[in-house]
Symmetry: C2
Subunit: 396 residues, 2 copies
């Protein structure tokens, strides 16, 4: 018998994960300037530091790091991660930390714990592509929340909660992917209140938080949560290394934490101990503050170069002015087609991600996501120059 | 509003993952001899080797190992894992290898790709606890296949296929967990034929294969598969280190491989590159054959000490005589209660896992799983002495 698509779970059949993958293939073309990714800069990564820490922790802990570990995590890492997150305003102790394979896994485990097929998840629109795919893989029904320049509009979210009785709300509050927008302080409070009022779990995905280049840090939504409705998902991918695949979820609700641990037991047993020990040592040695200061200094200049590049764009182009993170979001004048712009841009040697991919229901063809962390300043200037010319041209 | 169990997905509510966890808590008691785990021996782990390899690969690949990687894997590791698996008789090339967080994740991704709620999965009975939990988390219906001393009884499996139209069959063919039994050659061929005839995916979970202490290696079920129905799941947990969380699935069916990659994209993006590079270097340097020879030499003596210990058990006790792996399975005389034996054994300072936990539907109260890899020989002798006394006593 021949294997056919019919064998797949029904809701998995249409999920092919290819939209962005095709874009990334184009990036290999010689001379291509890429604003398409979401990686940290290579200059932010420290292989020598990681190498030294690997040696130290293997000498210190020996076979302990190579044996099976507990699903709920390596004790020292849970402690240092809790301390790090408390520094960001998260309310947690070490027993409330679940080490995960990046923020993605925290969300995956939440979906596994909560979602029956057809359950509603509220999300921002546009939102993180990986989260859209994850929600579809659990056969959730995605419902968009309207947003503005201060993030999710709380009154509209409340109406949607009344209408759809969602299990879960997915929010990226700080320097959102893809828009770069930050949820305002009052709305953070208000969302925490909504969660408790209506019994909706909030997945607060906050991996960019410490990449702030201007303005004042705001407390997490989780800091306003009194009853364990908000799960705070952090990650060391954007701060230390995405390739290490280590994040930390703070889950103050013991029932929910326990169910996520059970989901992780069968998914991958535990996060690798060597990786947990390396990041633990990084934090304990106090390397993070100076490191963040250095990389934020670089990223700030890169962001500014990109923002300046918009000056040559056609009148009517709007763009966000993020205070941090990795992305700027642009809206071309109404009626312009970002997909057509994408094709022309690739021809001209510059790539981005058409914004339509970040909308669960598509549309919004005049939007673009631009990343500035992976290019140096002359490259950003050259890329923005190319892009402005292409867009000016196709406009006429 | 207060968070209650009602918020969880319906099928997740009864999954509490606690049966074994409670046992492991008892192991901390002073003087306890544990036959309960399934870990490799600490003497099989090589922190100095891993430390050197970590330094080497970070020097060689630099920031590449710290950046995001491809979900389908780190190229060099895919090559060396394919070569390693081909040495075990698996038919695969490097493009058919998916790096995973231990064999558990390969099975999780298969379930995610294939299972609609209520779909049937055939499994051995008894079988691996983690797999039982994983199947339940995907809301699969578990159906036991009858087994004997040569593993799954093929004729019975065929009847069950006709009756239940399963999507998936889960088999641990070599030194099975928990029984230590190895599926015979003819049955390996026959299962591969059944899979193709009826269109059933076989998850061939084979993490113990190279821990063989006597007898001849048998080709994997996958080696008899012509049409991509068998997914071969290997792991470096039992060979190099469980704490590193790295396995490799060989998936010759491109549709299925693609869907597993999509599932992994949202679960954890990719397996950590440092871990893939370390195991790659381990394999490329040719360290595996001598390492396996050393650890198998030790495990062989430990197994023999355990088998000898059965001589003092009450008449009517049966036990398997595995040719490898980490476990021996015992059946006490009919009517004896393994749970009662467990309580008495813990009192006497020796622990095991009552076999009932490995049956999807419970029962089989007179069975025990004993692990020999984590104790040295005098400890095994002392533990078997204690156990034989306890069992002799509660028999009377």
């Amino acid at each position: 018998m021949k294997f056919t698509e019919e064998k797949f779970a029904k809701h998995m059949r249409p999920i092919n994960g290819s939209a962005i993958r095709e874009i990334f293939k184009l990036l290999a073309r010689p001379g291509m300037i890429s604003f398409a990714g979401g990686n940290p800069s290579n200059t932010a990564l420290e292989p020598d530091v990681i190498s030294d820490l690997a040696r130290e922790v293997l000498a210190q802990y020996g076979t302990t790091l190579l044996q099976y570990g507990a699903t709920d995590g390596f004790g020292p890492f849970r402690e240092s991660a809790a301390e790090f997150l408390r520094g960001d305003g998260v309310k947690c102790d070490s027993t409330q930390i679940l080490p995960v394979q990046g923020g993605s896994q925290a969300f995956d485990l939440l979906l596994k714990a909560l979602i029956d097929p057809g359950d509603v998840v509220l999300c921002e629109s546009p939102t993180f592509l990986g989260a859209i795919q994850a929600m579809r893989e659990y056969n959730a029904k995605l419902v968009d929340m309207p947003t503005d320049d201060n993030g999710v509009i709380v009154e509209a979210a409340e109406e949607l909660i009344k209408q759809h009785h969602p299990k879960l709300m997915y929010v990226i509050p700080t320097f959102q992917n893809p828009t770069g927008i930050t949820l305002s302080l009052e709305r953070r409070k208000a969302l925490a209140e909504l969660a408790a009022k209506y019994g909706v779990v909030i997945a607060e995905d906050d991996p960019y938080r410490d990449l702030r280049y201007s303005g004042q840090a705001l407390p997490p939504i989780q800091s306003f949560d009194e009853e364990g409705w908000v799960v705070y998902m952090s990650s060391f991918s954007k701060y230390i290394s995405p390739g290490m695949r280590l994040g930390a979820a703070a889950v103050t609700n013991p029932l929910l934490l326990r169910k996520m641990v059970i989901g992780k037991q069968s998914a991958d047993v535990h996060s690798p101990l060597l990786n947990q020990a390396i990041v633990d040592a990084y934090l304990r040695k106090g390397l993070m503050p100076a490191h963040l200061e250095r990389i934020c200094g670089d990223y700030r200049l890169q962001l500014n170069a990109m923002l300046k590049g918009f000056e040559r764009f056609p009148a009517g182009t709007r763009h966000t002015v993020p205070e941090g993170g990795l992305f700027v979001w642009a809206e071309l004048p109404e009626g312009m087609d970002g997909m057509k712009a994408f094709d022309a841009a690739v021809e001209a040697g510059v790539a981005f991600v058409p914004g339509t991919h970040f909308y669960p229901d598509g549309g919004h063809l005049n939007t673009l996501r631009l990343n500035f962390s992976m290019c140096d300043i002359p490259t950003i200037e050259a890329g923005m120059e190319r892009l402005s010319m292409v867009i000016g041209r196709i406009r006429n």
